[in-house]
């Protein structure tokens, strides 16, 4: 029997060092996955506490604590979980496997990016304790408040800056890997679709992340040296920061969601036993989303003071970006059509992704209409939309991925029934939690508020109860994995009948992935049609 990737090899480091000093993409992927789950747990717990406070403002926490809570919730979930998310964990583990390579193009840079990620996370953590303590700016760090607040913006922003570099390096690494290390015979159009989305994401990371690095640096300069880039009294402009922030952060939405779409494109053909419908359309629409996604950032600032012409243009391009997304959704549905569908947990999560992400996407169209946006922009509607896209989208794709690849990564099977019970709780809780926010928003409940007049109470109550159900679901899923790790059955090499390369090797994969690099002769989802 060959040795698995996590077995210690004679003559190499042992214990923690065997992991931390490893350049094996699989070990790095697993470490990222653990860190992501850790931060996700923290971010989610803070979110639940905020919901708790909202059914009785002032009882559980004070207003300023609430401000800090929603900021930390945002920073942890966005910068430590969602943005690195799927690429660093599943991307690292599976990209080389999917294209028939032994590792990524730059294994040491990969390890360095992991260390940078840890450093950034530690800096964010440290910002809670030094100087003015946890931030209260919101995760967007908008000026002028982020310049003026006494809370510890500088250290947190430095942390996010470092995380940005980790992200750039990962993108660079993946793009080079995809160009250089594909197995013989694996042409661009024989690549699995997850690889296509990682490719598109890689370019977004390389091109967009430097912009946020620069803008965050400017905040630090302004706080320490009073340079005044964003201070109108010194010739600057606070709206400029919003532009620079969203020029990165809108493409960052696609850094989060593109790999998620890649996961769905992997899962659906396998569980409907059918070649994916419209391979090229799905692949190219990923590139199209990445490209057009650069040009829509202005829709975050319809109410911040933009010229009417730019608002109309941004609104229009925002409608355009929905087209490639629609293409993907229709192709997934067409793949399911007449397939021999097996609803195992991975497919269940993938289908839920399509449902929730469609709600998120369609409400996105509603608010990208300029006139409607002016009314909805400052309300809970946006919070609801955002969580449908991020959690309902990326979150559920992440869960689909972990249910799909868990047997391969750990060599154990989990209990399918328990996963489905967890899904049920999660699905009900999720919709109670966030759908009530759409209604609250339409009724005029402004976002970020600690307190509200009594007529909004019932909406908040439903939402908070939803958050408890949702967390129950998450705990059931997590417990299921822990049980599987400790006493799960051995996983076969190919439990789902997948056709991509990772299923041709043992579970878990051996050190060098492939004993012999395979030669590819056909597309990734060949089911004998």
């Amino acid at each position: 029997m060959s040795s698995f990737y996590y077995d210690t090899v004679a003559g190499q480091r042992h214990g923690i060092a065997a992991w931390m000093m490893s350049t094996d993409h699989k070990k790095i992927g697993i470490m990222y996955l653990i860190a992501l789950l850790l931060f996700f747990s923290v971010g989610t717990s803070i979110g639940v506490l905020m919901r708790l406070s909202l059914i009785s403002p002032g009882t559980f926490m004070k207003a300023q604590t609430y401000n800090r809570m929603f900021t930390i919730h945002g920073i942890v979930q966005i910068f430590l979980f969602i943005i690195p998310g799927i690429p660093v964990s599943f991307g690292n583990f599976f990209l080389p496997l999917l294209i028939g390579a032994r590792d990524v193009a730059f294994p040491r840079i990969n390890r360095f990016a992991w260390w940078l990620y840890l450093t950034g996370a530690c800096l964010v953590l440290a910002s809670l304790f030094f100087g003015g303590g946890a931030l209260d700016t919101g995760w967007t760090f908008y000026t002028p408040y982020s310049i003026e607040t006494r809370t510890n913006v500088s250290v947190a922003v430095l942390g996010v800056f470092v995380l940005g570099f980790s992200s750039i390096l990962t993108g660079l690494n993946f793009v080079t890997t995809i160009h250089r290390l594909r197995a013989p015979g694996m042409t661009w159009h024989r690549m699995p679709l997850f690889v296509w989305t990682l490719y598109a994401t890689g370019w977004v990371q390389i091109l967009a992340t430097p912009v946020i690095a620069i803008s965050l640096l400017l905040i630090i300069l302004e706080r320490f040296f009073g340079l005044g880039f964003f201070n109108p009294a010194k010739g600057g402009d606070p709206v400029l920061f919003e532009h620079m922030f969203w020029i990165y952060s809108h493409p960052a939405v696609y850094i989060m969601i593109l790999p998620a779409m890649g996961i769905i494109s992997e899962v659906i053909p396998v569980f409907s036993r059918k070649n994916v419908f419209g391979y090229r359309a799905i692949a190219y629409s990923a590139i199209a989303i990445a490209a057009v996604g650069y040009l829509v950032w202005g829709h975050h600032m319809f109410t911040s003071g933009e010229s009417d012409i730019s608002r109309v243009v941004f609104s229009f391009i925002t409608f355009i970006v929905a087209v490639p997304t629609g293409i993907k959704v229709f192709n997934w549905l067409a793949t399911l059509n007449k397939g021999s569908i097996r609803v195992d947990a991975p497919l269940l999560f993938a289908l839920t992704f399509i449902f929730l992400f469609s709600i998120g996407g369609l409400t996105g169209l509603i608010q990208s209409a300029l006139s409607v946006n002016l009314d909805l922009h400052g309300t809970y509607w946006i919070v609801a939309h955002f969580h449908y896209v991020m959690f309902g989208g990326m979150g559920f794709a992440f869960l689909a991925a972990i249910h799909y690849w868990f047997p391969k990564m750990f060599g154990k099977m989990y209990d399918d029934r328990r996963a489905k019970i967890g899904w049920l709780f999660l699905f009900i809780g999720f919709n109670m939690l966030y759908f009530s926010m759409f209604i609250l928003g339409l009724n005029g409940m402004p976002r970020r508020y600690f307190d509200y007049p009594p007529q909004y109470f019932s909406g908040h109550l439903v939402s908070t109860i939803g958050s408890w159900i949702l967390v129950t679901g998450l705990v059931i899923l997590l417990r299921n994995f822990i049980i599987a790790l400790v006493k799960g059955l051995e996983a076969p090499d190919n439990p789902w009948g997948g056709r991509t390369l990772e299923w041709t090797i043992p579970s878990p994969p051996p050190h060098e992935n492939f004993e012999e690099i395979p030669v590819i002769t056909r597309g990734p989802y060949y089911y004998g049609e």
Partner: protein, 280 residues
């Protein structure tokens, strides 16, 4: 594997504790550093009610005489042609959407921070803005005051406003409302939330939601955090030095795009890596 699980759970609990300790630990009100022009919030402090001002008729009165109920205070100057008229319109507009009775549940006070303004100009302004607020609005519920340099400085200091006289004409100043309790304590700052259309009437606007919450709190004497800190400024001149900064941004943008493009061209040109296929 079991060790990994224990380590994960322990790390999770530790991180949670650390985050909660960090987030929950402190409870001071945040406040801005004093920039050149801006608002440094002084929530919870009181303003000097003995400061003397002149009403629209030129009669002297101590500020305290206008209190005894919650007050919505605005600070502008009367010759201002920038944001001030929009701000006053926004006040007039939002009062009609409040459930409180003006004059009974709250009063409006507008003070000019320009010592050269006179009760005469205050009278003109009042005449203008009593029209949009409607007939039911009692005239004594909105006072337009003028005052001397010292008294103006006292009030500006107390509420934390910094304004600056410009070289050419007028002032640079922030545009925000200060909501005070019946005994002059600062309850909350309310900032504008306009729709951002410069041409439209409501490019400066106050949310009835915000002002209701603030007046409600003022009646109870309960201080609160100002929630939406999007501060509007009024500048009587275009700011200098922006062009140079934008040029720096343009140049760095071009450099980044150039580097990324050359990387792409290199990758495409160099093609796939030639590998020696390792046997078992």
């Amino acid at each position: 594997m079991r060790n990994l699980l224990i380590a994960f759970t322990a790390a999770c609990v530790m991180l949670l504790t650390v985050f909660y300790a960090g987030v929950g630990g402190r409870e001071e009100f945040p406040s801005g550093a004093s920039g050149d022009v801006g608002v440094k919030e002084h929530t919870g402090r009181s303003i000097p009610l003995d400061a003397v001002f002149y009403d629209e008729q030129g009669h002297e009165l101590a500020l305290g005489q206008l209190f005894g109920k919650p007050v919505v205070l605005s600070l502008i100057y009367y010759t201002c042609s920038g944001i001030c008229p929009l701000l006053l319109s926004a006040i007039a507009d939002v009062t009609s959407k409040l459930q409180f009775a003006p004059g009974k549940d709250y009063a409006l006070i507008t003070i000019s921070f320009d010592p050269e303004d006179t009760p005469g100009s205050a009278r003109e302004l009042k005449k203008n803005y009593m029209k949009p607020v409607g007939g039911a609005f009692p005239a004594e519920a909105w006072s337009f005051l003028t005052g001397t340099r010292e008294n103006i400085a006292k009030i500006l200091d107390a509420v934390g406003f910094t304004v600056k006289k410009d070289d050419i004409q007028g002032f640079s100043h922030p545009a925000a409302l200060v909501v005070l309790s019946a005994d002059g304590k600062i309850i909350r700052y309310v900032y504008t939330e306009g729709d951002g259309y410069f041409a439209s009437r409501s490019s400066v606007a106050f949310q009835p939601f915000d002002l209701s919450l603030a007046i409600g709190d003022a009646a109870k004497g309960k201080t609160g955090l100002s929630v939406s800190r999007a501060l509007a400024y009024c500048f009587s001149r275009p700011s200098k030095g922006q062009e140079a900064f934008f040029n720096i941004l343009k140049i760095s943008g071009v450099i980044i795009v150039f580097l990324v493009l050359s990387f792409f061209v290199y990758l495409v040109a160099s093609g796939r890596k030639q590998r020696i296929r390792k046997g078992p």
